[in-house]
Every structure is written in C-alpha cells, then in structure tokens.
C-alpha cells in the first residue's frame, strides 16, 4: 500500500469525512491549531532570542527554559494533535500540496534541531547555558530554530493557497 493510498483511506474514513464536513468542528480545530502556535512557536521565538543574547540577557537561560518547558510542551502537543486531526480530514489532498510538503520538510529539520539542543543541554549541564552569550553552536541552533519554525508557520498558512 502506497503512502497516498493510506492517506486516501484516512481521508475517506468515517472520522475524516465527518470532521471535513462538519460545519463547526473543522473551523474550531483550525482555530486551536493556529492559537496553539502562540504557545509553541511563539514561546520558542523568545527562547531563541534569549539564546542569541538579544532578549533578557540578565535572566539565566536555564531558569527561563525550566519555567516555560511545560507551556511550550503543552503548546506543541496542542498544535500537533489539532494538526493531526486536520491532516486526517484532508490527508490525500494535503500530501499532494507543495506548501504542505515544504511545511513537513521544515518541521522535520526543526524537530531534529530541537532534539539536538535538548541532548546538548542535558550533556553539558546548565552552567554553560547561563552565560550572557551562549556558545557559538547554540547560537547557530537558535538561528536555525527561528528560520525553521518560521518556515513551518509560513508554509502552513500558504498551504490553502497552493493548488498542487
């Protein structure tokens, strides 16, 4: 079974069809997907600015990370679950959409970047993180994060305007 056939099955499933044709549920899930970004990408944006030393340089980064970890995680769970539901309803159409394909590509690299940051911060401890200016590789990761999550958001919004 090819990927597109699986997507077709998802889209044609009872749940997928019901969600797609629902007058209220589909827009509500769309709304949740958008607003979840304020907690996920929105908070990551400020963490990245802090890592770059542009924002709140006097506040230790480990403190910011620790205090917002639950919110950011909650935001990402909200965004991913609502996004997953939206995909379920239009899976085949989405897979064929070049905007959505680019969004997935950006998301893949954004997640790898985030995972590598997590692993590094666990390995090196909080002392190195709490410098006013983070090490070069971390600043590079922060730039990458801004570009990648920005790309995910931009191509996400462009998806409905891309026909193929």
């Amino acid at each position: 079974m090819t990927l597109i056939e699986i997507a077709q099955l998802l889209e044609n499933s009872e749940f997928g069809t019901a969600l797609r044709e629902s007058q209220y549920m589909f827009p509500i899930v769309e709304g949740i997907h958008l607003l979840g970004l304020a907690l996920s990408f929105g908070l990551i944006f400020f963490i990245d600015l802090r890592l770059l030393g542009i924002f709140l340089p006097e506040v230790p980064i480990s403190l910011i990370l620790q205090q917002f970890r639950a919110c950011i995680f909650g935001g990402f769970v909200t965004t991913f679950i609502s996004g997953g539901l939206l995909f379920w309803a239009e899976a085949a159409k989405m897979l064929a959409n070049s905007g959505f394909q680019l969004k997935l590509l950006f998301m893949f690299f954004a997640l790898i970047n985030a995972l590598s940051f997590e692993l590094k911060s666990v390995r090196r401890g909080s002392a190195w993180l709490d410098q006013v200016l983070a090490p070069l590789d971390i600043r590079f990761a922060a730039c990458a994060s801004l570009i990648l999550w920005g790309g995910v958001t931009i191509f996400g919004r462009l998806t409905p305007y891309m026909s193929g």
């Binding site: 958008l34 907690l39 908070l43 205090q67 958001t153």
Partner: protein, 157 residues
Amino acid sequence: MTTHTIANTIQDSSVSTFLRSIDHDFIVVFEVVHVLGLLLLLSPLVVINLRLLGVGLKQQTVAQVFQAFYPFMLGGLIVAVFSGTSLFLTFPVMYYNNPMFLPKIGLLFLAVTVQLALILTTTQQTYPTPLFAKSAALLSLTLWFGIGFAGRAIGFV
C-alpha cells in the same frame, strides 16, 4: 449613510481598487504577515498574563516582565492591524458581509480598551492584588484568543 454604503464607498476608493489590481499572490503575503503579527502579539501576552497568574519568570516582577515583552506585543499588534487593514481594503464589502467580521472588530476594540485599562492598573504596581491580577489575566487572554478564533472563523463562514 448606512455602514453598508460606507463599505461600498471604501470598495470603490482608489486605495481599495489599487489593492485589488495587485497580483493575488501578493495579497496572500498579507495573510502570512497577518498570522505572524498575531503570533508576535499573542505570545508576549501569554507570558505577561502567565506572570500575573503566578506562572513563569517568577524571579522578575510583573513590571519587569511587562517592560521586556510589551514592545513585541505592540509591534505584533501594529503588524497585525496594518496587514489586516490591507486585507480588508482588498474586498471591504465581502468582509463587511461576513458574519464573523464585525464581531471580530468589535472584540478588537473591546480588547484594546480593556487591555489598556488593565495595563495601567496591574503592571504599574509591583505587587498587584492577586485576585485582581488573576481576573485581569484571564479576561485579557480570553479576549485576545477570542479575536484569533473569530478571525480564523472568517475564512469558514
């Protein structure tokens, strides 16, 4: 002059006609900028209001958190309003006729007014009354996220 006539007059104005003459692909850029502006507005609001609720950045005072985040919030609002106005001007009559559009704008004016009043009362105090600060935070989050929801609904009704 009814509001509907006003919408029609705006539609026929030179600004509106000019925006419609632009390539549709370019108008889509406003949609993207509008969402990015909204996020830049909402995230600082979340941080400031969480602080009022006693969550996050607890070592900083409410006033310090507000000082650090409000320029982004203001920037986000300006970007969202500018891109939103441009979108509205492309098809004023269509937006005016959308059942979610006027509620959204009404909510926006309400949110700006309420937010200004709340900022003046809560964030200027180093230790606002906990109950007042928490109610203010919940009211603010409800209003602004409500605008985001209403805005998203415009595309579906």
